[in-house]
Every structure is written in structure tokens, then in C-alpha cells.
Assembly symmetry: C3
């Protein structure tokens, strides 16, 4: 069961063009393309006639022509041509999902289009903010979206899963606080005087650091991680007091109940014009996020063996538990509505 009346990331902007692009989102087939003026379109990827996938068809102007029997649907999903039939019943249409392009991503509203308010699109502007340097990536995960939510809300996994790169071995005694707000869960994690990570070392930070991470979850699958890192200054620490601000942007669109498409962005406000730093960070992020994928995929396989096996929540899971409760409440409301 999925939350319907929400914006989901369907693609990075560059993935949507004048070739139809297929997606499975919340178990539903969706085809993405752009109209001639560049507007994104998201239609049911299932011709109303014989259920052929429209993405095997071709664009004609702002419409898409099914590659099987040639029915044409405009960007609103309305059938405008049936090759051998003049009469086009009004029921001849495919579902049009509200879509929008914002912050470098193409969004699809999976519920009632009448409720699709673009102002509700979560704020991932740091993907494209002129004052930040950023890059993005996509990972197809063979694990549920909520496993990634757990992953990101509980960064206690960094010293272990990511020990070789972004984790600090001494980052195991943070100050943790959790705010359960209206429609969000926020975990603040402050680690003081921890050993700098391999990743930080490679970027020129040698001394101990203090890191403040503010992790915000918003349903159905969006997470922001703001990271402020301050190097300790002075002879004792060996550092010189550098500061780094990063924001990790995350949206894990469910494909099925046990798989998701993970869209991420990585924005920084330091060494902004330094292409070497950008390349280093891209490579390091690919490695670290692939460690997540390998673990999540393995975890899903273990869960599939016995989906009823219990979970043991730690203090550090307060955020994850709150997120699951929020999701459960929203799903119950949706079911009741």
C-alpha cells in the first residue's frame, strides 16, 4: 500500500526528453516525455485499447502515438485519434498524472490530479541553487523505500557500513534529538571532536571535527541531510578550523513494495569551483551509496525469508520509528478517506 496524494520523483530532468521514458512507480506503469515546449508529461503507460505500453510508441507533437495500433493520446491522456475509427468515445483515454519539473527532478503526483498543488513539491532547490555546487545520481534498489528511510534517519551506520570512506570510527557518541512535527520527523545529530573520516582527510581536513547533521524526513519518501562540519583549530588538533557545509538530498520512489528508485543529490558550499573536489566527491559518493545498496538489497532478502521476523528498535531509531508511525497514520487516513 502506498500513499497516493503525494509528489514522487519520477526521473532526473535529463532522463525525460522527446523519447518516451518508462517507469514503474508505486506499482503503476508511467510513461514520461516532454511536449514541444519542454513541459513534462506523465501518462499511464498502458494503452486503454489493448494494454500495450505507450512508451514503445512515438511522439507526434505534444501527443504520443501507441506503437501497436496507432492510437494517439494528447498530453492530457485524451485519445485524439483512432486510426480506423472516426468516433472517439470520451472514455478513450489513459490516465494523466499531474507532473512538474522542479529542482532538477521530474515529479509525478500519483493520486487525484485535482489535488496536485505544485507548491507542495518538496524543496530540493539545492540541486540547482546558484550558490551551491551539486551533482546528482540514481540507484535502483532491490529493497523497500522505507529501508532507505531507516538508513538515512539513523546515521549511526556511518562508522560501520561506511568505515572506509565517509564514516568516522569515533562517531559513536553523538547528541541526538528528535522532533516529531506536523508532517515531518527531524533528527539532529551532533558529534563533537570526532576523528575526521578518510573522506575528510582526502579533502584536506586532518584534525578532529565537530559535525552537526540535521536529518528531515517528509512523507512519503523524502529526506534532507544538512551537514555542518567544523575542523578543530590549533596545534592540539592539528587542524586549521575549516568549515564545510553539505546537503544530501534524497528521495526514494517506491517501484514495488520491495524495491525503489533512489534519487539523490549532493550539494556543497565549499571548494565550489574545484573540479577535482567535485570528481573526488562524485566517486566517493558512488562508493558509499553502493555500500548502502548492497546492504539494503541483502537486508530485503533476509526480510523476504520471514517478513514477520521482529525488529528491535534502539534509542537511535527514534527518528525511524516516528517516521514509520507517521507513514502508518497517513496510510490509515488514506484508507479511511
Amino acid at each position: 500500500m502506498f500513499l497516493q496524494n503525494y509528489w514522487y520523483v519520477a526521473a532526473e530532468s535529463f532522463e525525460v526528453n522527446r523519447q518516451p521514458t518508462p517507469r514503474i512507480i508505486l506499482g503503476e506503469p508511467v510513461v514520461l516525455y516532454r511536449t514541444q515546449d519542454g513541459t513534462t508529461v506523465a501518462l499511464e503507460d498502458r494503452c486503454c485499447h489493448q494494454r500495450a505500453p505507450l512508451h514503445r510508441g512515438k511522439l507526434e507533437g505534444d501527443a504520443i502515438r501507441c506503437g501497436y495500433h496507432g492510437l494517439v493520446f494528447d498530453q492530457h491522456g485524451v485519445c485524439t485519434e483512432i486510426p480506423e475509427q472516426e468516433r472517439i468515445p470520451s472514455s478513450a483515454r489513459v490516465r494523466a498524472y499531474a507532473s512538474a519539473e522542479k529542482h532538477g527532478w521530474v515529479w509525478v503526483w500519483m493520486g487525484d490530479s485535482a489535488l496536485a498543488d505544485e507548491s507542495l513539491i518538496p524543496d530540493f532547490h539545492l540541486n540547482i541553487d546558484a550558490e551551491w555546487t551539486s551533482f546528482q545520481g540514481i540507484i535502483e534498489m532491490d529493497g523497500a523505500s522505507m529501508l532507505m528511510v531507516d538508513n538515512l534517519l539513523d546515521l549511526s551506520h556511518l562508522p560501520f557500513l561506511h568505515a572506509a570512506n565517509i564514516g568516522s570510527a569515533t562517531d559513536t557518541d553523538p547528541d541526538l534529538s528528535v522532533e516529531k512535527g506536523e508532517g515531518f520527523v527531524r533528527v539532529t545529530r551532533i558529534a563533537r571532536g570526532i576523528k575526521s573520516s578518510k573522506w575528510q582527510n582526502d579533502l584536506g581536513i586532518q584534525g578532529n571535527v565537530t559535525q552537526e547533521k540535521v536529518i528531515t524526513f517528509r512523507p512519503p519518501c523524502h529526506i534532507w541531510i544538512a551537514i555542518d562540519t567544523t575542523e578543530e583549530a590549533g596545534p592540539e588538533s592539528g587542524g586549521n578550523g575549516q568549515m564545510m557545509r553539505q546537503m544530501i538530498l534524497n528521495s526514494m520512489t517506491p517501484v514495488s513494495e520491495t524495491s525503489c528508485r533512489y534519487h539523490w543529490g549532493f550539494a556543497r558550499d565549499f571548494s565550489r569551483g574545484n573540479a577535482g573536489v567535485t570528481k573526488y566527491m562524485k566517486d566517493a559518493t558512488d562508493i558509499a551509496f553502493n555500500e548502502d545498496k548492497e546492504m539494503i538489497d541483502a537486508q530485503q532478502k533476509i526480510i523476504d525469508l520471514d517478513p514477520a521476523a521482529p525488529i528491535f528498535n534502539l534509542d537511535g531509531d527514534e527518528g525511524g520509528v516516528a517516521a514509520r508511525r507517521l507513514m502508518a497514520r497517513l496510510l490509515a487516513e488514506q484508507a479511511g478517506a
Copy 2:
């Protein structure tokens, strides 16, 4: 659910020989071979002893010996030898399906053998008719047999799915008529003065053509398509009035509810001795039928996401709808019988 008391194509003749050949037909395991005099045999491909597949065994005369514990079954499925046991209970047997070889194909009657009347084998003699030139092919489809029935009964897909070869861009305004007969559905599709297709151009037809296609469906999965093509003559059309007669023979044997083995034949009565034409046609047919396979397989995947998603029937689906109704009625009769 499948219709049982019908002849199904199990193989092309060349596929059945003195090596046991396995098939899954209507979800049942069947092993095919020939007796010493060349008669085709179809037995349950599951030893009555421990359920080993008999096709892993060896022929001995007209019988087959299981490759596991050496039980021997004659061509009627009767166990004639149990290596370590003299007594052979009469219940020691595998099911023998009535089989026959006709028109280049090996047929199996999947229901009650007592009802297996060879005169009921559908007429695919053009596979081997001395006055026609023909070739055959086999495609394993990851889509239901009935999806291919829909495909072939509604040739409005040619200008779109097969635009690059056998489809004519202007073949979208045919005269269509449907005859719902006793045990068959027949669609007649006449397209007058349409642009010749790439395929026709390559065969020397440059002018516009008139095509009459008579498509006949007979349960459970057989379709004949008779195609008469007449090139328009005269300076206006650029053509010289050639005529071509073709017959496309089709039988889509269900493997499971969502897959089938598609046996086809292509017969013509023009350029009969021309090997170059034969080769061109073979290659072109492979390309066109693979376009069908890619679409059908993709369509089945979309259907699997939500098998209850509705279908919207067009006027051109009158034949397909009639075929589905006929099948539903026969299945209901079978269930009631």
C-alpha cells in the same frame, strides 16, 4: 484454464525424431518422439514412478525407457518393463496423448483421446501444398496465446508496429466485416488503393495496391490469413498490375496462461521458384514477427502489473471480441460438461 478436447500444434515435423523432445503444453509436460516407422508419439513427460521427465530417457524400438530407473513405456504409455520387478501392474502407465502429423506440424490432442478425430485437425495444408511455396517458423512468446489471437485478428497494427516493413502508412481506412460462424470468427479486411509497403517495394511493387485479407480464427488458437494483393496498373499509379496471393498460417499453442509457442507458416503462389524472394521473405518475416514478439511480451508485463485493468474495444476489435466470447463460451461448456 484451457480448452482440452482440441488439437494443438506441438512441434514442426522436423523437431520430432528419434530423440525425445520435451514440450510444456497447456501447463502439462509432454514428450514427443517417433516410432521406428515414423509415427509420432506424445506421452506424458513424467514417469509414473518418481515423476522424472521421460525426455531424459532413450528410445528402444517404439518404446521409451526412463533415464532414471529404467522403466519402459510403449507408444501407448503402457509400462512394459520394470527392471527389478516382474509384476507390472496395469496402473503402471503414463498418459498417452493422441497425436498426428499433418501439414508439416505434429499435433497433440490434449483431452480425451477417445474423441481425437484426425479429421478435426485444422487445415494448414498450405504448409506443404505442391502448388504453393512456403516456409515455417517458431517463436517462443512470453505472452498469452490470446494476445496473439487479438494481434492477428486486428491487422490495424500493421501501419504502426510494422511500419518499416509489411505495413502501409495509408492502410487505415479498410472495409471491415466480421462473420461469427459456428466454431469460427472471420474478419474480412479490404484496403483499396493504399500505398505499397517497403516489403512490397522490395518485391517489385511500386504502385498503390488493393489488399484483401481474410482472417479466420478457429478455437483454440488457430488463425489463417489469406492475403490477395493487386497492384494498380497504369501510368497514374506507376504500377503494372501484379498480383500476389499469400496465406499466413498461425497456431499459438499455450505453454502457460501467460506464454505460448507460436508456430507459423508463410505460403505464396508467386515467384515460386525464386530463392532470392524466399530468402528476402524469410528475413522480413523474422523481423516483422519479432516486432510482434517484443510488443506482446511487453504487453504481457503491463498486464501482469494489474491483470484487472480494463480493455477498451474499438470497432476493429469486433473480431477479437467475438473470438474471446467464443472461447469463453467453449470454456464454460467444458467446465459444465
Copy 3:
């Protein structure tokens, strides 16, 4: 459904070391490793926290640290460290399976550890007996454990499935007797004056042989096959009266209801120091046991098509039938307990 309060082979000794080794046994995830003193450990391969597989973690002393969030579990499954949390609830633990190393294999007791009596470990000492020469192997089977039990209790398949190597073409008239004991089934199969097999020929036996095979099944999945082969002596037989004793050791640990991990050993008391004989036997065994795997895997596929298809028991199946009855009785007792 599986028998729980039994010892199962989880691995060959060499497979378990200071790298965690994953297994699925009876559908349950198990991780194997050795403590610093070499003792084998078998823990639930599912962290109690978020269900990550522990085998992706690392050993620390005798404990294992989860590779995801760093929880540490000692060899008894008790959580001894939660990186960000001082309080460790007593419920923070993973299941520890009783394990033992005996006869070259690592054993796991899949039921109540309190009942895990090492004296109940089946006697496979010929794997390591100083007076025998032996070698071992492992085959992942895509077929149920009980299909291998049937296979081994009914050696009438040798002249057919293994005709090219260990089977004798004339071994089809043995004296068979079956003993149904308390917790075991024993089949004695004596074949007198049969043609020697290709395998025996290659080992220098040319004459006819008499073979006595004593096959003992013990629940849940263990089988011993003691084989005494005596070559007939004298000019008539062409043989010189050689004797060979072999013991084939077999344990087929269920992975799922339709797959198993087959551990086998092959021990002999002849040509003991002859490395050429050992190599010949290893290669021949690999070939023969792969013939079993191909048949069992194919048999399981046929069974999966229609799990309710009947089985026809032959006289030679008396042992297999008794084994299945014994298993059914024990499973019923377990369900009732």
C-alpha cells in the same frame, strides 16, 4: 515443514573460518564462523535490530559485529555492544544455534538448543578415519532433500542414470531386503555375478562381481551406503578375486522445500595410498553425482508443474516409502508436541 530437533550439516569444515559464512538452512538464515580457539559458531544471520545479515559484518575476537550499525553479538548470540547506546536490553540478541564440528563437517542443531546432544550427531567418521582414504564434495541441488533420499535408497537407478560409469547393465536382479528400525530404514541390496561397471574396469576389475550394498537412512536427511565388491576369481570369469570396500556418506540439508545442499563423502579401504586412484575416483564421482543433480533438478521442475501428480511405488521403493513414512510420523509428532 522441516524436522527441527536434529543435527544438520551446515558446511564442510574448511568452509567455516574467520570470515563469516552465510547459509540458508530449513529456510532460516544462519551465519557460521569460528571463535579464536577454532570452535564453530552458528548464529541467526539476521541482526535483531534492522534484520541486516550478520554475515556482511566482521569478527571481533569471538564475537561478530554487524556491518550495518555495528551491534556486536557474542558467540552465544547475546548483544554485547550497541555503539550509541549504553543500555543493552536482555532481549537484544540473535538466536544461537547449537553447533559442532565432527567428522569433517560442521553441524547445526536447528531446534531447541537445550536438546542439542552432540552424541546424537550421526556417525560419519569415515570422512576422517585414519584407516580409510576419503574425499568429500558439495552439490547445490535445485530439488528437495527427500528426492535425494529416494535416489539413494533405490539404487536400481545405477544401470540407467549412471550407465556410463558406476552402473552395471546386468544389475537388475538383486536380492533386496528392507529393515524398518527404530529411527532408521535400512535397505540391503545384493547383486551376484553382475557385469563389472566401466568404473570398476578402469580400476582393474574385469570379471563379474558380486556387490553387497547396505543403505541406511536416518532422519532427517542422512544416508550411508556401504558397498562391498568382490570380483569373481578364476579363468571362467577372467577376474582375480579382488575385494573393494567403499562407504558413501550422504547428507542432504534442506535449503527450502524444493532445494537442498548435498554434502557427500567417499571413503575406501583399497588402493589407499594411490593418488591416481583417488583422482580417478574424484573425477568419476563428480560426473556421476552431476548426473544425479541434473535428474533431480529436472524431476523437481516436473513436480512443480503439478505437485499433486501421483507417484507409483515399485517393489524397490519399499525403503523410500518407509523413509517417507518415518519422516511423516516424526513431522506429525513434532507438530503435535
